[in-house]
Symmetry: C2
Subunit: 451 residues, 2 copies
Amino acid sequence: MKPIQAGLLGIGTVGSGVFHVLQRNQEEIRRRAGRGIEITMVADLDTARAQAVVGEGVQVVNDARAVIANPDIDIVIELIGGYRIARDLVMEAIAAGKHVVTANKALLAVHGTEIFEAAHRRGVMVNFEAAVAGGIPIIKALREGLTANSIEWIAGIINGTTNFILSEMRDKGLDFDVALKDAQRLGYAEADPTFDIEGVDAAHKATIMSAIAFGIPVQFDKAYVEGITKLGAQDIRYAEQLGYRIKLLGITKRSFDPATGALKGIELRVHPSLVPARRLIANVEGAMNAVMVQGDAVGTTLYYGKGAGSEPTASAVIADLVDITRLHTADAAHRVPHLAFQPDQMSDAPVLPMSEVVTSYYLRLRVADQAGVLAKVTGLLAAAGISIDAMLQRPAGAGAETDGERGVPQTDLIILTHTVREGTMNEVLAQMQGLPTVLAPIVRIRKEELA
Amino acid sequence: MKPIQAGLLGIGTVGSGVFHVLQRNQEEIRRRAGRGIEITMVADLDTARAQAVVGEGVQVVNDARAVIANPDIDIVIELIGGYRIARDLVMEAIAAGKHVVTANKALLAVHGTEIFEAAHRRGVMVNFEAAVAGGIPIIKALREGLTANSIEWIAGIINGTTNFILSEMRDKGLDFDVALKDAQRLGYAEADPTFDIEGVDAAHKATIMSAIAFGIPVQFDKAYVEGITKLGAQDIRYAEQLGYRIKLLGITKRSFDPATGALKGIELRVHPSLVPARRLIANVEGAMNAVMVQGDAVGTTLYYGKGAGSEPTASAVIADLVDITRLHTADAAHRVPHLAFQPDQMSDAPVLPMSEVVTSYYLRLRVADQAGVLAKVTGLLAAAGISIDAMLQRPAGAGAETDGERGVPQTDLIILTHTVREGTMNEVLAQMQGLPTVLAPIVRIRKEELA
C-alpha cells in the first residue's frame, strides 16, 4: 500500500520536530502503522527556511490552502497556532475531507465544539494528543485507557514554564520577578510570557481534559484562571515548613451536592495550589509536566513527561498520524470519539462558577503582634463553620518588622483550613481584611490534598 | 444497537470487579463506547458463589466451553489464570471467532506468539491491558501513545508485593523475612509468594513490554529473573547513605555495540536495582506500580498507579472491552496490532544473555581491616577497565566486628561502579571473592541511573 500523505501547515519548532522524527524513525513507524507515513507538502510563510528544513524532495508553498486543495494529501497537520487563521484552515481541511492533526490547545479550547461537529458530519478524524501535556499520551489515557471509570477529578502540572519558575523560586528562594527573568534567559519562558504565567495556557489544556473526562463540550469561557505572578518567595517557604509544595495546577472535578448526592456540575480551574510534599506530583520539578487522574475503579493514576519542546510534541503529533493511518479506512461509527463520549451523548451538566468550588486553603495574614488578634481571626472562621487544619506564627519578613504608621510590632499568621465552599471563604476573607489589626492584603492560596 | 455481550471465564477477585464496575458505570461506559456492554454469561467451578455475585439475571455455568459455544457471546473474558487450561480456552475462543480479553500475563509471556498468530488468522482481537501494571494503561501508551518513538528502554516497578516489602524494609529497617511476613499478614503477599518475590511475575510483564516496545516475539524463556529474597536491610541502608533507593525493576532495553553502533539485541531482566533517590520512580512506595519509558523523541515518560486489586484491574479489562466494542466491526487490517508492530513486521533481534548486559553496580565486600586490602580490590577493578563512581567504608555490622577464625578486625567496603559488561563484572567478582582478605560472599546489586 502506498504511504499515507500528510501536509504540514507551519514548520516552526514543532513542525521541524515532526518532520525529523518521521524521517528518522520512518521504518519503525511504518512497521507499527502498517503503512508508511510521509510529509509530502509543507506550507510556511518563510518558504526558504522551510525548504532548508525539509530538503529538496518535499514541495514547499507559502499558501496553506494549496496543501488543503491537494487531492493526494490525506492528513493536514495544523501547527500554525492561534485562533483565527488556524480555525479557518482546520474547518476548510475538514470540509475538503482531510483528517486533521493539531497541537493547538487554544483553538480546541475555544472552537472545539464547532470543529468536532464538522469533523463528525464529514466523517473525518481530528486528533490532538499534542494539545495537552506535550509528549505524554494523556488524551489517549483519558479517552481510551480509563473508559471503565467514572472520572472523579484530574489535577495536572500542565505548563512547564510556570513549573520551572516555581521550582526556581523554591530551590533558590527567589521572588517571582527574578525567577521569571531567569526562565526567560534560559529559554523556558517567552519574551511575552503572559499566556503561561497568567494560567491561560494551562486553562486551555484543563478545558480540553474536562470535556473528555466528563462528556461536556469545551467551555474555556467558564474556566477560572489565576496565574503565579502574585506568588511570593515567603509563601513557598511557609508552605514548605508545613509540608507542602506550591504548584500551578489545572483542576477539573465533578462536584456533588453533599445533602442530596446529586451532581451539581463540573469544577474547572487553574490556580497555584499547595500540594503535600509527599505526593509524587509535588516532586515534579523544572519544566516537566504531570497529570493525576482519579477514577472510581482505577484509583489514582499519574502520567509524567515533557510537556513541550520540539520532539516531545512531535511524538504526540506522530502518534495521532499513526492512529489515523491505522483506522482511516474503518467504519466511522466505530472510531474513537473526539471527546471520549459519542457526539450525541454529551452531558449538559454546567461548569460551576468558582464560588461553588469546595476546597481548602492556605491563608497568610500580616497582623499586629498584640493580644486578641488570633481570637478575632479564628472567631470569624469559626462563625462561618470553617475549621482549621494547622496554624503557624512567624516573625514578619525582614524590613517590615514594624508598621511605620502605627509603630506596633507585626507578625505573619499562616492558617491551613479544612474544606469549605469558596463563596463562604470569600465572605470571611472580606471580614478578616476589614479587621483593623490585619495590616496588609491577605494572601490566599488553595490547597489540594489530592488524596 | 443491541448491547455487545461478553462471557466471563472465572469470577474471582478481578472477575467480580469487572462485573460490578460494568454495572455501576454502565451508562457512562455506553456513552463512551457507543453501545452497551453486558456480561450475560459466567463460567466458574463454584456456581453458587458466582450466582451470588452476579444475581439472577445472568446465566452461570460450570463449563467454560458452554460460554465459548454460545453464539450470542461476542467477547470472552479469560480470568482463570495459569498456563494450561487458560491457553486451551483462549485458543478455542479464538477458533470460535470470539474476541478475547485477558489479564493473564503468564499465559501471554509464554504462549503469546501462538495466541496472537491464531487471533490474527481468525480476524479477532486479543486485548490484555490488565496483564501489565493493572489499571495503568501502559500497554496502550506503548502500543499507541508512543508510536513515533524508537523506544530506548523501559524500567518498571511492576510487582506491588515486592515494592511493598522493599518499602517496609526501608521504612522500618526490617530484614526481608520479617517484611515478607508483614506483607502476608496485611494481604499484600500470598501464602505462597514465590512468583512475586522471585521476580517471575515481574518478568512475565517485562517480557510482554519488551515485545511491544521492540517488535520482538514474547520470549519469557530468555528473561533474566532475580527476586528480592536475598536483600538485606543493611544494603538498603547503605544505598540510602549513597543517595539511592533499592527497587525491584523489570527492565528491557536496546543494546548497541559501542564500536560499530549496530544493534546487538534486547536486554530483558528483572532484579533489585539501586535507583537515585531523586528520581520520581524511587519515590513510588508501597504496593503501587510505575513504569518509565524512554523514547528517542519523547524523552522520559512515567506512568503510575495501582498494579493490582479488583477494581484497578477491572478498569483495564473494561477499557479493552470498550476498545473492542468501538472497533469490532472495523476492517481487520486497520486494527491496532497486538504487539504494536504488524505481525509480518516482527524483528528477529535476539534477547541477550545476561552476560551481555551493560550496567553499573553496587558492591559490598566484608574485608579484613588491614593495610593493602583496598589496593587489591580496586586493582582488580582497574585491571578489568571498571571505573569507580563512589566508595564508602563502614564498620562491619554489630556482632561481626571480628572474624572468629582469624581474630582480625573487619570492615564493610561499598563500591559503586560505572557501567561495565556483566560478563566482565562476573569475572572480576570471582577474582575478588578469591582474595584471602575478602571474608564473606560479596553482595552485588545492579544500579540503574535511569537518566
